[in-house]
Amino acid sequence: MSNWLSNTIADRDLGISDNTRVPMPHHNFVPEYQMSGYPWAITDTDLDSSETLDIDFPAVTRWFIVYCNNPVKISFKQTGSSDADKMFYIPTGMSQRLELKCKHIRIIPTANSTTVSVLAGLTNIPSTKYPDQTTDNGFNV
């Protein structure tokens, strides 16, 4: 929003940008995880087992859930192909709420005609301020 610096409600619309603070919250700033998150949702249908669904969140997640009509695997590796021993298996249905901070997940269907929904609660922390999820950066992905 062009007018996000204004502090008066009268001369601006409210937007998430109004949450922008100085200094910008870091991904280790605890209060961001004590609040509820902003909703972020996506549904993809008719995924084949040969496809992957790469999701880049605009902000660091506080939590997310995955719904699928066929079992899927998820990976957090941001670059390159996912390693078979670094995936988590999610059976058909809705997962528990996974309280993880991340900016990228990869969903790998195990069957054709798979529908996947992801719902996340986002923090105010821009994902550009979060390290890339690679082994070089200390992620065991």
């Binding site: 619309d13 937007g15 609040m35 949702a41």
Partner: protein
């Protein structure tokens, strides 16, 4: 004493953390999706649920036990209208089913507790289907919460209008 007595001065902002550390004020709504006379069985209709205060969490129950009686959860009315237009109309689905900004909830299932702050949501279901919404509310008035649309930074509830069909 009323819930309004919880309101404080200055009014808490939706980023005021203690509001989310307390348990919420209960909100409950159970409804049946309206029918259109039975001539279009299976047609999808929607229900808007508005909250007077920003939510701390929401949980949804899809009561229906018939196979494939799914319901869909949206956080933006434009996205909902786009989806309905495609689903109830011809095979020409605006925005496709790929990348739509909603989630699907199976028949006969409770969702986990979604710890989300929002002031309104829309649920889409088949005529005659029943659904319940439970929420825990903060003391933050919803009129101080931004409208849930792409241009306000809610990029995960609505497809970018610039890219929509």
């Amino acid at each position: 004493m009323t819930v309004e007595n919880n309101h404080r001065w200055p009014t808490p902002n939706h980023n005021y953390v203690p509001e989310y550390q307390m348990s919420g004020v209960p909100f409950l709504e159970t409804f049946t999706f309206p029918t259109n006379g039975g001539s279009n069985n299976g047609e999808l209709t929607s229900k808007k649920v508005s909250f007077d205060q920003v939510t701390r969490w929401i949980q949804i129950l899809n009561h229906n036990n018939t196979n494939n009686t799914h319901i869909y959860l949206f956080f933006n009315d434009t996205e909902l209208a786009s989806f309905i237009a495609g689903k109830n109309g011809s095979n020409a689905v605006p925005n496709g089913y790929k990348g739509c900004r909603h989630i699907k909830i199976d028949n006969g299932s409770y969702t986990p507790r979604f710890e989300l702050k929002c002031k309104e949501l829309w649920i889409l279901g088949e005529e005659g289907a029943t659904c319940s919404v439970m929420a825990g509310l903060t003391s933050i008035p919803s009129n101080t919460f931004p409208d849930q649309k792409y241009s306000n930074g809610f990029t995960g509830v609505q497809i970018n209008p610039a890219n929509a069909n």
